[in-house]
Symmetry: D2
Subunit: 388 residues, 4 copies
């Protein structure tokens, strides 16, 4: 029997039935007003979710990686310098992309498990008195380590340095699940993906651009066509696309926003926090620790659990899949084998979360980890039932 | 956010995606060969699931209740006497139906929590030396109490009494989940429903008839049209129906049987037993007891848990629904308030089951029941992980 | 490649995607308030579609045949006399059902192609001075011949005779597609099915009962359980069912009514009339005639086209299916072979209808019928484009 | 009522139900073996459809435009010269993309309505004795004009010139609908999209690369990350992706290939030819002409019909959408207003096609075009029925 257990990877997330149905649309003419009726509410909805007061939102038929490429190729010039901290696989990959596109990246190497080093970033910006740095890249939620960074703090650092660099934020695994304030935080470019907080299949890169980023777009000379936002702008003005749009995903996105707003976006954040806190209490009950080094860094969408000395985090993920049909996330890069990750974002309830924790316990017991069956579940139950 | 937690009612069950899709078919001409291609494998598949060597299977667009009515109206005559034990809500309802249709029911009142009283049945049959009793009704799995009865034993009782009555079995909540042997057990009529072990939506009554039952059909004078199997027989011979068939459900049934047989029907039974045993270990760990009075009676599809003195089983069901969005079953009839029921049939995994047990624990704790959070989960985990 | 051509059978109809999705619901607890929230609008919506001011609506998990059985078994007593005209296969079948249930049917044999003979019915009622006739059965739209009957006229006949018989109407292939006025016409029982004007899969019998019919229900002694409306009444009062309800179909029905009312129920009738009129103009352009003997009898949901002398209507249906993958309806009973039927109800547009007419033309040409390719299409096009 | 008429745009196409269902998959772990089981048959299937004996296939989460970008950025270097003919909107766009990415395009301006000018291409290649031209771009089926080009002829031109340039073919609107022979024709890069012959939603760019193209990939210096095939290669080797793959589309693609091969790929081509020929006969019966200037150029997936002097092709498309709910394609670029386009690819039957032709006739009549209702339909019927 196909198990249909929930997944506990940090995205793609479990999907509501109604979103799956909204994505499954019969073919329409994507140059017709029927399509414009799907597109406009999707864009307006993303603006509300981002808390974007001015700026524009673009929906590219791509993944979050395409969103990163959209961000840099539309605003930067060959040889430009960007500043970025590296503290996980996803911050690493964005840096690597910049280098492939001919940018010079000033990399602040940071221990995996920590977040964006605000003081060092501020220092680097202050040291750049000629404003060679054109952009600061930030990974809001480092999916590899379960660490969130302080984006409002980054804005303060930029302001303290009086530095005009664009603030580009990878919010792929945070947006629509954790608080995000595009305008209040002074974000210039925010990148999200359909398959995380928006609970859709992968296939849409969601990019928000501030007026300042839109201005930068006009002169940017990095080559681009597929991701060229000037073509998107022209298309959207006519309710259309420069090429064939992913109609189903856009219809699904509009519906996802309805679901998020029906629940209440703050309630969505609170639910994610509550789910995450239950997981963290379970981890504590198991006597284990998190990869994230301090509570202010704890992600509410993914938790990286450190394997005890002598045990392999990857084995947990493999055995959970093979023996119980449940998906967790392996450690990546520097923390490969050292952690396993529990995703807790998107369509998820406390009840579903408990089955994930119960499964993790069985697997750890199977592998001889020194944990007590039911202990983490009980800690989470206790928290969930008193906060429901 | 819609929770999409699994349900833990004793049917309808959680449904595999692929079954839902198989049920969702565009309109076809139900008088065309395309329909016959759906119907024939569905019927043949049910025969295999029933372990029926001779006899016929009928698929009525109705629920299990319609299946009962099909059984009695097609084989009995007004004023006929039938023998039935009453030990739960579903055995009661079939008896009530017989009375409404003008049959005389010899009722063996039996404590709820026990199964069919073989010795008393045998005695009653032996006492009926003139063979006034035309049918013995048996509820294979009494969904109200979580009790299974010994159908092979009933056949032995009939044979011991040398009695020609038809053996009619309500297998609605057992067939396709628990061992059932139509031919080996000498069953004359078996009634199943689409929404239990077959994991389909409600809407199909599935009725198996032995050659002897088919013969009885020819002279039965209880009025019937919708459920008249003679019309069905004529229809099936032409690959069609006497009225508009529920095409989607029939296509879905054929697919469900493919899923059951891909898993292996014995493996399906073993999975149900394993899931049920984990639930029973959890109940024991909670310090609670079952409604079923002895292990040989334990149902593998539903467990009725007795509320401790002073507590209300119905409250568990209500709070689970309201606070956690999880469905359990209330006690019915004589055991209303005295038990709550955990369904564990259909598309279900150990992982899903654990979320049900974890939820039940939270609810019981919320209601002040004297149980320890995590205790039942741990007992089930221990069993599941060593038997996976 | 699966053709996915529209069907042109007189039901089940082509289904809107959104209805199929509304029918495909994950399992919920059918005893929970969530189910009541589906049931109540479905029932209220049917009342509006029926134009029922007083009375009750019941939704049985069955087909239209089950609706007929519900009508008679809930209101009549063994041996009761009913009056019915027979002028097609469906009026025949209801008569046959009455006889199987022990009723005495006074049959007014009427040529197939004509409708209910009002004068003869009035005469029969007047002749029944002792009011032995307990019900008059009427087939509003005889699907076998494409003939509608005058239900308002039947009420006048009853009133003219001062006769208290119940007026029972089979509206399976008319309700929700053609004007129907439950209260204004003095209908006592109306029977509909999910798979026609409501555009759902087969599986729901929809029965409307007047206060007078509800009163008759209390003393009716025909045996019934599955179709016993007293159990339904008790269930609905609690937002539930006496057995497991077909949740998906009920949710789908509520949605179908939303679609009908979004279009406007009078607009739905007008669309059906317009589609039908285009078909009739095509038939005229082919030089063929209808089975219905006069324009006041023309059905707006199905057209039975008479085969020219020497040609076989059934061959049209068979060749259309085999060669072009298009479903039409064969002639049934007395008109078997003499006609073929074009269904034009449910989800259907002028554009879809034209493909049906074009296909019929190809088939008739293939079979050597004396028609001109494109002639019927052109006549329908001319009508459709000037009335769009 | 939502009309659910077929669409007659040149892609996205009408989609089979089973493909829509195959695309709608619950979330799985895209790093698990379950995903590899979807990916590998999809890739192998595309290879068969392309008739590719050596080389590799890549599936990018993008549209055909992304496929073009993949082709050029993975094989060319900044400043490289490419040769391309411009004879429609899609050949124009690819040229424009090359220019945006810093390539020098030698453009052979060609009248819209004609195909790739083989003799001029051969001459240009021969004139390039130092082999500055690194690639020849060809639009196999120019969707804007309904013109196919002779790709085998292009290979002959390259060979006749002894020129080593890569042969890059845009087969977006031809592949899987019209004959295509990757290896036999000596194609180096073929680009297709999910939403045309593969009958999927938009969202997958499908790129086939010859060994020679794969070799070029190693040294190409155009910046790329999202479309970098080296990352894809590494991913596929592990049954995975460099980023989150569009699981549903890949599963759907594997299923689409099953449908194509169940029909038989040659039968698929024959069906498209037959549908197209019926359309062309209808156009002739209307007294109208095609944009394609000679029969050897006629596309089997889209027909561009030239509006008579004084009439506007775009008006046909607008009125068809507004009045009849049917989608055709407008003229683009140089032929805007001068033509309207009828798409006839993907899931389409003769029966569906006839409704498109009948609609076009109504619209043209509504707009006062000098055509006779039913004339084109009759011509197509006559052809379809004698070739079915």
């Amino acid at each position: 029997m196909p198990a249909q257990n929930p997944v506990f990877i940090p995205g793609p997330t479990n999907m509501p039935d109604s979103i799956r149905k909204a994505c499954d649309v019969a073919t329409i003419d994507h140059r017709s007003p029927a399509f414009a009726k799907m597109l406009r509410p999707a864009i307006a909805g993303v603006q509300r979710v981002l808390k974007m007061e001015t700026g524009e939102v673009f929906l590219l038929p791509a993944t979050g990686t395409g969103g990163w490429e959209t961000a840099i190729t539309n605003t930067l010039n060959a040889g430009d310098r960007v500043l970025a901290a590296r503290f996980g696989m996803f911050s690493h990959r964005w840096i690597d992309m910049c280098q492939r596109h001919g940018l010079t990246v000033e990399i602040l190497e940071t221990p995996w498990g920590e977040g964006a080093p605000l003081a060092r970033i501020e220092a680097a910006l202050k040291a750049d008195s000629t404003h060679k740095i054109k952009a600061v890249l930030a990974t809001h939620n480092e999916t590899a380590t379960g660490v969130k960074s302080d984006i409002a703090g980054l804005r303060k650092a930029l302001d303290a340095a009086g530095h005009p660099a664009l603030l580009m934020v990878d919010g792929v695994s945070s947006i629509a699940s954790m608080p995000f304030e595009f305008t209040a935080w002074g974000v210039d470019i925010a990148v999200a993906g359909s398959q995380k907080g928006f609970m859709l299949p992968a296939g849409l890169a969601i990019v928000g651009m501030s007026p300042k980023a839109l201005t930068a777009m006009e002169n940017a000379d990095l080559p681009r066509t597929y991701f060229d936002l000037r073509d998107q702008q022209k298309g959207y003005a006519a309710g259309a696309y420069p090429y064939t749009p992913p109609v189903g995903l856009i219809n699904g996105l509009a519906h996802a926003i309805t679901l998020l707003e029906d629940e209440g976006i703050e309630a969505v954040f609170a639910r994610h926090h509550r789910l995450a806190e239950g997981v963290r209490r379970a981890v504590a009950a198991w006597g284990l620790t998190l990869c994230a080094t301090s509570p202010d860094l704890y992600s509410d969408t993914v938790t990286a659990v450190v394997a005890p000395e002598g045990f392999d985090g990857t084995a947990v993920v493999q055995l959970a899949a093979e023996k119980y049909g449940v998906a967790f996330g392996v450690g990546l890069g520097e923390v490969a084998g050292k952690v396993f990750r529990i995703g807790h974002l998107g369509m998820l309830s406390d009840v579903m979360m408990l089955s994930g924790l119960a499964t993790a316990e069985m697997v750890m017991a199977d592998l001889g980890w020194p944990i007590t069956l039911g202990s983490g579940v009980a800690a989470a139950q206790d928290y969930y039932r008193t906060t429901a």
